[in-house]
Symmetry: C2
Subunit: 375 residues, 2 copies
């Protein structure tokens, strides 16, 4: 345990959750209360996954004592994560709420996002100075999402805006520009987090449509992140919003060397098609994008992993540690730090995230701010 | 040029083509002749690409002297490829015909495949002892495709069955089993070749739907191959058809380490979902699957490429050289052999393909066989 105790740890992907979406009732716009209470089969539920982990998406030991959903109990989260690994900051990324990207009804999706953000800032962030929050937006209506960012983004506990990787189209599309405008204005990164791939109104989850098994669906999740990244870069989002920063969360990283090389080669050959791209895409990505580690790939031989990670110039400054608590494939800090090239550990385990999220040197209670001042 | 002259070269991806599909008229089932002559706007054409290379998909210097489509002129193909690089064997993979996978009308797609296969075996293969052919099938009707394989697969010039990566679903799906049964029976590998992604009845070409630009579409092509590979393995195709061998053609290779590690980790955690999988997926893939080199990724530093290639155990036995003549991103043999780890060159440039396609030690005219004996 000595290794862990020496390491500062910033955990960039922690899934707090509600037990069911009806818990958001006190925070939801009255126009949608009926939906939440009576919608569908006796109460609204978000689009759910037809691809199921056979023994459950969550760590079995993360179920609270009195029952309930893993991630719903602050006490247990503190015990199993914050205190157990001396986590300096934990970035809360939500859980089921990310599936609002798959909801067909844009105002409903936006109302659920707002209710969640109120719950997050009122119920979760004040509990512990180590917690930071991700502002959930419904990308279906980007103007409405931008208003949400301007309403809540000034809260000192909010460190980023978050959307799911499951989407009807790549995030480079013009329809999403108002979101980037608002995020850049407030200095908040955009996190693209794995989730809702193939659900509801989102695109099929792979480039060959719908898979049969969870193992296929899960193995191919990085292809959605790859697709968004290529879309953001090629459609010129970083030229248009030079202040925008992006975090790719829970999508792995070892696909990165090959993708960057292919994209750079294609830019050299094809830039007449996209003349707004003024530099190598890998340079743009290095400056604007960060990647969380979990699930960090586990080859039989750790040196093979180093070889791939070290093949990308500057990746040591682009990786940010994450546990993905309380998901089934949770990575312990020591398990990851052991798998990193030795010179990378401080940067990846804490300092890259500290710089990216502009976090103080030691965790302090964020200063209270009127959360919805701009509404 | 010394390097090239010492190297035996087997080129696993050479695109011969017709000038237009009406050239297949003499070989097409009479029931579909009207389609070819009068269909659509005054003559049938296959679904075409809405994502266009801004300066053309083909090498400008590969246009035949009297005009026409690159790849349509055997003399020029011989001069620019077979003779120029002393190619021992060239595996013809077709070109536009691969788009039959996107045709909604299954019997029409099958009739076009048959016409093409007759044209290939009668017009192309007899011209040069260095040429070998890929039998095109329309996967829409797998029983009919299996009959096609049994009809033409005994031709000594045919070395594999070929389908496009563009597809409505992953190739692990049960609907395709008759194709694998027939291919395994005849000892023919199945080639999955980039093509027809997002066209006609195929799935959208990325995991986030339809991209805007060709640079996006082209950069993300490997995600379709990744998806088919995961589908074939996880849905148990290699357990059910242990004699089946697969070539992944024109999809790059540097995504392979990350995908195999992720798939192996997931198999360890999730095999209760897929109990038919009896070994590490990477072992299955190593035994059954080969990858062609083109377009081999080009990082600024060639050692970065080696690091990634060497991270996969046994990849030196899984890679097969290809030029992709006459596509815009054609790879010259010397250009690729220089980028390979030194000890890999013989295997990758020729010997892996020789073993996989069971090609004689020196190119000889294949023995004539009644092509359609089984029809």
């Amino acid at each position: 345990m000595a290794v862990e105790q020496c390491l500062a740890v910033i955990d960039c992907d922690v899934h707090q959750n509600f037990n069911n979406i009806q818990e958001l009732l006190p925070w939801v716009d009255p126009a949608f209360r009926d939906y939440l209470v009576h919608g569908g089969y006796g109460g609204y539920s978000l689009p759910n996954y037809p691809w199921l982990h056979p023994s459950g998406f969550m760590r079995g030991d993360a179920v609270p004592d009195g029952g309930g959903v893993p991630g719903s109990d602050y006490g247990l989260l503190r015990e199993q994560l914050l205190d157990a690994f001396d986590v300096e900051y934990a970035i809360l990324t939500g859980e089921e709420i990310l599936s609002i990207s798959a909801v067909p009804h844009p105002p409903l999706a936006a109302a659920l996002a707002t209710a969640y953000n109120r719950w997050l800032t009122e119920e979760w962030l004040p509990r512990d100075p180590r917690l930071r929050g991700s502002l959930v937006v419904a990308p279906q209506d980007a103007e409405r999402a931008a208003a949400e960012i301007r309403a809540f983004g000034g809260h000192n506990g909010i460190v980023q805006v978050i959307v799911s990787c499951g989407a009807p189209t790549g995030y480079g599309d013009r329809r999403y520009h108002p979101i980037y405008d608002a995020a850049a204005e407030l200095g908040l990164p955009l996190a693209m987090h794995v989730g809702a791939e193939g659900l509801g109104t989102n695109a099929p989850p792979t480039a060959t449509g719908y898979p049969a098994y969870y193992i296929e669906w899960h193995t191919l999740l990085p292809t959605t992140a790859m697709s968004h990244l290529v879309s953001l870069v090629c459609q010129g989002v970083f030229e248009r919003f030079p202040g925008l920063r992006v975090a790719v969360v829970e999508a792995g990283v070892t696909w990165l060397p090959g993708l960057l090389w292919r994209l750079d080669s294609n830019w050299r050959s094809l830039r007449s098609e996209a003349p707004w791209l003024k530099e190598l895409p890998s340079e743009t990505i290095r400056r604007h994008v960060r990647f969380t580690t979990q699930p960090l790939e586990q080859p039989g031989n750790v040196e093979s992993l180093w070889r791939v990670l070290e093949a990308v110039d500057g990746l040591d400054e682009m990786l940010m540690f994450a546990t993905d608590y309380p998901h089934w494939d949770f990575d312990e800090p020591s398990q990851v730090s052991r798998r990193l090239p030795a010179g990378w550990r401080d940067a990846v385990m804490s300092e890259n995230a500290r710089a990216f999220y502009r976090l103080p040197a030691r965790a302090v209670e964020p200063e209270p701010v009127a959360a919805e001042a701009a509404r």
